[in-house]
Assembly symmetry: C2
Homo-oligomer: 109 residues x 2
DNA sequence: TCTAATATGTCACGACGTGATATAGTCATG
DNA sequence: CATGACTATATCACGTCGTGACATATTAGA
């Protein structure tokens, strides 16, 4: 899948997909991602198995991530260059949301 | 609908729902929201009519917004106290995402 | 008069996250 | 050695959501 199509398909992405990608700063496997997301979200988020493995399979097909190593009972994934491009674009969108959130926050207090 | 259920149902919310709520710092009607969202998103976002009117109807049913005035060809909405509570909670979630985005951003450059 | 903008509404479609269910290996405790 | 907790992956049906197309009507300007 080409870069433009990937961007259109994945942006905006859900917080689930975002945290999965954000976990791949280093190679990780599905279950490791679940634990890592729990950690960086302050236990607020727990990803269901369907969510994690479904998303990983989809992202691999689209060239966002790739298999880093296939150990006997673990499949380690890492990000592709396209994946890095994608998450940087998503971070840009989040910054816009954050900017507007802070700007209008006072109106709701 | 009680506060707990509303929070569970609406958080996390999509950027579309977020910008619709954020537009109701003052009473607005559907079409006015579309224009306002285009403005604060730097024309990045354009909401389809199905999205806006569908979301407004749903939010009204759940007590997140209420009809402020029903002019002949415009229906103006405003936020309820529950709606304000909701968007403040969502802003809190966005701040967490933003914090993590900035924290890990460097790893993808 | 014709076109663009304003304004609302409905519907089918595809995509997504979720939780249940299933399977299986590992490891410590009693 | 058995039992339960944790690690690890996979699939499936379900409900929800945003979207864009289509429809309709009013108003303002060229």
């Amino acid at each position: 899948m080409n870069a433009d199509k990937v961007m259109k398909k994945y942006i905006p992405m859900t917080e689930t997909a975002f945290y999965i990608l954000l976990s791949l700063t280093e190679p990780r496997h599905g279950y490791g991602i679940v634990k890592h997301v729990e950690e960086i979200s302050g236990t607020r988020l727990h990803l269901g198995s369907g969510t994690v493995y479904g998303t990983l399979t989809k992202m691999q097909k689209d060239g966002v991530i790739t298999v880093f190593a296939d150990e006997e009972r673990k499949t380690l994934y890492e990000m592709t260059d396209l994946g890095k491009q994608l998450i940087l674009a998503e971070i840009g969108r989040l910054k816009e949301l954050h900017r507007n959130a802070v700007k209008y926050e006072g109106d709701f207090l």
